[in-house]
């Protein structure tokens, strides 16, 4: 078996993902755990990590390079934000964590903040840096769909400005905890209902709180199916966001970085607006960003 040289770690709120990396930056093993930052106290991070990677540990110390919410105030150790405009995911500003286990040497990459309008990201900056490592001349907008979708303006290899929209969390709250929850279950989906709702929301975003109750009412007195209702709910949220983020995507070079299913959803909505874009897998970009940061580490040492 190839020898593991270092660990690339994506540690988010609800998941911990580790790639055990070889000397040529090839992936030797991929390890996953549900011990996300949200469920751990500060002193529980190191044991959670060791438990997952122990079979790959040698005498060390082996480099463990982390990104994501692990660097939040409630995380393992707070990693200071870089301040936009800035180059994303630079190892030179990473936070070194004192680990008890001598076999690991842990660093957490910085998130990025913006003063006005106030905004923050943790994890996405590493995906952006991975994207830029593969597309160094990109000039335009990146959209990173998720619970808190980021729209990011990129120029000359830097994050110029960005804006986060809570649309994904709103969709989750409304479909799981609101009066709408009984009407939006199951796996059915109506692309037509989704696209119509995107159009409605973009055309008159101020009607969104009324249209949301309309889903409930039509379920009670009409024959609105679960799949149609769910698609409409999703379309209302994404349409509202596309209206708010218009300055980011209209007439701009645009790339989506996220889970393929989310890229597809945003892609369908953007297609209908006539926007052109490319799509990139979010996990691939995270790994590319951690590799790029690790390369600068090797360059620093040599």
């Amino acid at each position: 078996m190839a020898k593991v040289e270092w660990f690339a770690v994506d540690w988010g709120t609800s998941n911990l993902r580790v790639w055990a990396m070889g000397a040529d930056d090839g992936v030797i093993a991929e390890l996953n755990s549900e011990k996300g930052m949200g469920s751990l106290r500060p002193d529980e991070f190191e044991p959670a990590l060791i438990e997952l990677i122990s079979s790959h540990l040698a005498d060390g110390p082996m480099k463990v390079l982390c990104c994501g919410m692990v660097g939040a105030k409630q995380g393992w150790s707070e990693a200071t934000y870089a301040n936009a405009p800035c180059e994303p995911g630079k190892l030179s500003t990473a936070t070194n964590v004192e680990a008890k286990d001598p076999r690991i040497s842990v660093s957490i990459l910085p998130g990025v903040m913006q003063s006005s309008p106030a905004d923050v990201m943790r994890g996405e900056e590493t995906q952006i840096s991975g994207f830029l490592a593969e597309n160094p001349n990109f000039f335009g907008t990146l959209c990173l769909p998720g619970t808190h979708t980021k729209w990011v303006q990129i120029s000359a290899g830097e994050i110029v400005s960005f804006r986060t929209f809570m649309s994904g969390e709103l969709f989750a709250l409304l479909s799981e905890n609101s009066v709408l929850r009984h009407g939006v279950q199951g796996n059915d989906w109506s692309k037509r209902a989704f696209l119509d709702a995107v159009d409605d929301s973009m055309g008159s975003p101020q009607q969104v709180a009324g249209r949301l109750f309309g889903i409930r009412a039509e379920g009670l007195i009409g024959d609105l199916g679960q799949g149609e209702a769910k698609a409409r709910l999703s379309g209302l949220m994404i349409g509202l966001e596309l209206a708010g983020a218009r300055g980011y995507w209209l007439g701009q070079d645009l790339a989506l970085i996220g889970e393929p299913s989310l890229n597809k959803l945003y892609g369908d909505a953007l297609d209908q607006q006539g926007a052109l874009f490319c799509s990139f897998d979010g996990d691939d970009m995270t790994l590319a960003g951690l590799k790029a940061a690790h390369k600068t580490l090797k360059a620093d040492i040599s």
Copy 2:
């Protein structure tokens, strides 16, 4: 003690409120229970009611007149909706419930539905009918703030059209279940932050999902206080609604019917827009509506 003649019942999702009424429609006793419709199976409604009113029951049968979610599909017995445009809360279309206890004779007043745009109300129609009993010549708009705020156009004693906004439920979900929840606790309140957020939301409603995350970000990297954050969250939701309901209130005679604290909140926002309005207590209007319906019952019998 004056003799109880009938019972006026406001049975909502989370509460059951009963007024024990005398011959002159004076309130002899007010009884409350947390046995709302949301926590009861169909066969548990009668025992919950009897438990609350038993000390006031005579041989009967005594009239029990109900409004609210007790008439929903998941309630005691489904009360058919009246179809807008219509007169609200008419006893002639009430649903009679077969009670096992011979001491009571139960009727549930109908809710109101609207086909297009699809919308429904249960309980508010009784408040409206109470308001109209006291203000028979009113022509204009009623706003009934709550979890699902209703805006209702009234003409010639009828509900002409209405629209429900989920703003109250969105506020509750965001302040209790979202990433914002830690930043909006306590009883502090900033009226300035509330009014600024109302203005922001009315001016560019499409930015609301971004501004919501801004509350989180400013809490992380700035010095946004809990009271300011909570007021801003509330202002964003109410401003979004006022923008969507503009056709209902702009240049219209306007009355608010609701909890005094909610009336105050909506009133502050409407004041800033230069709208004129009167405020009425929601419980008073519910009782007035049940009394008005009971009067038609007495008129029918005599």
